[in-house]
Amino acid sequence: MAELMTLPDAIAELVSDGDSVALEGFTHLIPFAAGHEIIRQGRQDLELIRMTPDLLYDQMIGIGIARRLVFSYGGNPGVGGLHRFRDAIEHDWPRAVEIEEHSHAGMANRYAAGAADLPCAVLRGYVGTDLMARTTVAPITCPFTGERLVAVPALRPDVAIVHAQEADREGNVQLWGIPGVQKEAVLASRRSLITVERIVDELEPRPGGIVIPAWVITAVAEAPGGSRPSYSLGITDRDNDFYRFWDKMSRDREQFTEWMNENVLGLAKR
């Protein structure tokens, strides 16, 4: 059963150096607060898995705690590129990061296979692209039609971390709005942490509500506003200005480092 913990305790208990960690949330419900806590606790050499790295992984990569990145779209949605992600891949700053990239269809099916505890998933994809030679996919033939398909290996992260709107005191979680791959990520992972905007006495069923039962979750932590500058539908709004600000500010290594020191690590301005 899910244990209700403070966010620092949950990160301390669930995330270790070297772990493969999937912080998911497809534009919506991105677990920024949990990612920042991982940074503050100084975790190192993480394998970061996420379809859309977004600003959160740009920060984690820029601060140097990522050893490897598994992803399908490394952009700042609607704004442009991710400068820390680029700097790491283009110039190994602050450290070299190994990458494994897929298409969205491939990543989504990798999570689904993980959630079903199957070793792989089968889809139509990748063929004809240069991606095929640069990532882990394999041809597989339909035994009935002979059609050539592509298999992708299941994702089984050590830890999945997602954010949701609410949980009850037993640790049952409800999220609504764009569900992304959060349920698959939680079910595919060995351990899971779900941060929530609020803890309520009882989950009131809602349109579009997806309930993840407490017994498949390792830990639940209250983190109001924990998805900012992303959003939690019905509770907080996406801070689009921050996404634009990040594009300008994060181009410069020093500015970035200073911003992280002040705003995430809580160190005084030099």
């Binding site: 534009t27 269809a105 692209t129």
Partner: protein, 252 residues
């Protein structure tokens, strides 16, 4: 502000030309940026029944504002249905339910193949781009693909640094050989004109040029020996209704 008082920009023409392409379209799959603007404009002016599908899982979204991300709250709040990302790619995109997909790219070649992965070598890129996202499977499965890109020599290249997304591959028959269901790119809409694949060769050919644009300028900004249609059309200029709607949308 009255329409007359402001010059029509090349970008406005590009967006409006893209929107017009959706006049008879049932469903369109869109990423953010100009494609999203064009699709919302099409719903306002050309095709109020148009169904917008975003890869975030929002089906039938009816945004009043231009979303910054493909997952803005307004898309979820106005959608007919919201599905998970695995369902979106398996049941909706992969199954070929979408008629038209708008895609962008950092590089395009003469067969409308696209690169959104790297400029330079993969191992040591000069510029690392965001990557594939949904593009490879979207381009393979949707009924047709319309590419929207700024017309510049560094974008329209002789050879892609990386093939992220297959358009017409190496030419006729390539898509069939790869088992793709969709017709692939049917147009590339730029700020200078419109390129369409020439049926026999699948090579992009300039078929339409925007008002006031010189053909030599287009040749200049294309990284290969650009072929020009025998009967080169000039784009019908944006009309007042289109311009007012677009500017109103951008001002929201």
């Amino acid at each position: 502000m009255s329409v007359a008082t402001r010059e029509v920009t090349a970008g406005e023409t590009q967006t409006i030309v893209a929107a017009r392409r959706l006049r008879d379209t049932k469903t369109v799959f869109i990423g953010v940026g100009r494609p999203s603007t064009a699709a919302i404009l099409a719903r306002m002016v050309h095709n109020p029944e148009l169904i917008l599908v975003y890869e975030s899982g929002t089906i039938g979204a009816k945004p009043f504002h231009i979303p910054l991300s493909i997952g803005d709250g307004e898309l979820a709040e106005t959608a007919d249905s919201i599905v998970s990302v695995p369902e979106m790619f398996n049941y909706w995109i992969g199954a070929g339910r979408i008629d038209v997909a708008f895609l962008g790219a950092a590089q395009i070649d003469r067969h409308a193949n696209l690169n959104s992965t790297v400029i330079g070598e993969y191992e040591h890129p000069k510029t690392r781009l965001p990557g594939a996202g949904g593009a490879p499977e979207i381009a393979a499965s949707c009924g047709e693909v319309i590419v929207i890109a700024p017309h510049a020599k560094r974008t329209f290249v002789e050879k892609l640094d990386f093939v992220t997304t297959v358009g017409h591959g190496d030419g006729p028959g390539a898509r069939e050989r790869l088992g793709f269901r969709g017709r692939g790119p049917t147009a590339v809409i730029t700020d200078l004109g419109v390129l369409e694949p020439e049926p026999e060769t699948c090579e992009l050919m300039l078929t339409e040029i925007h008002p006031g644009v010189d053909v030599d300028k287009v040749r200049e900004e294309t990284g290969w020996e650009l072929r020009v249609a025998e009967h080169l059309e000039t784009t019908e200029p944006p009309n007042d209704e289109e311009l007012e709607a677009l500017r109103d949308l951008l001002d929201r």
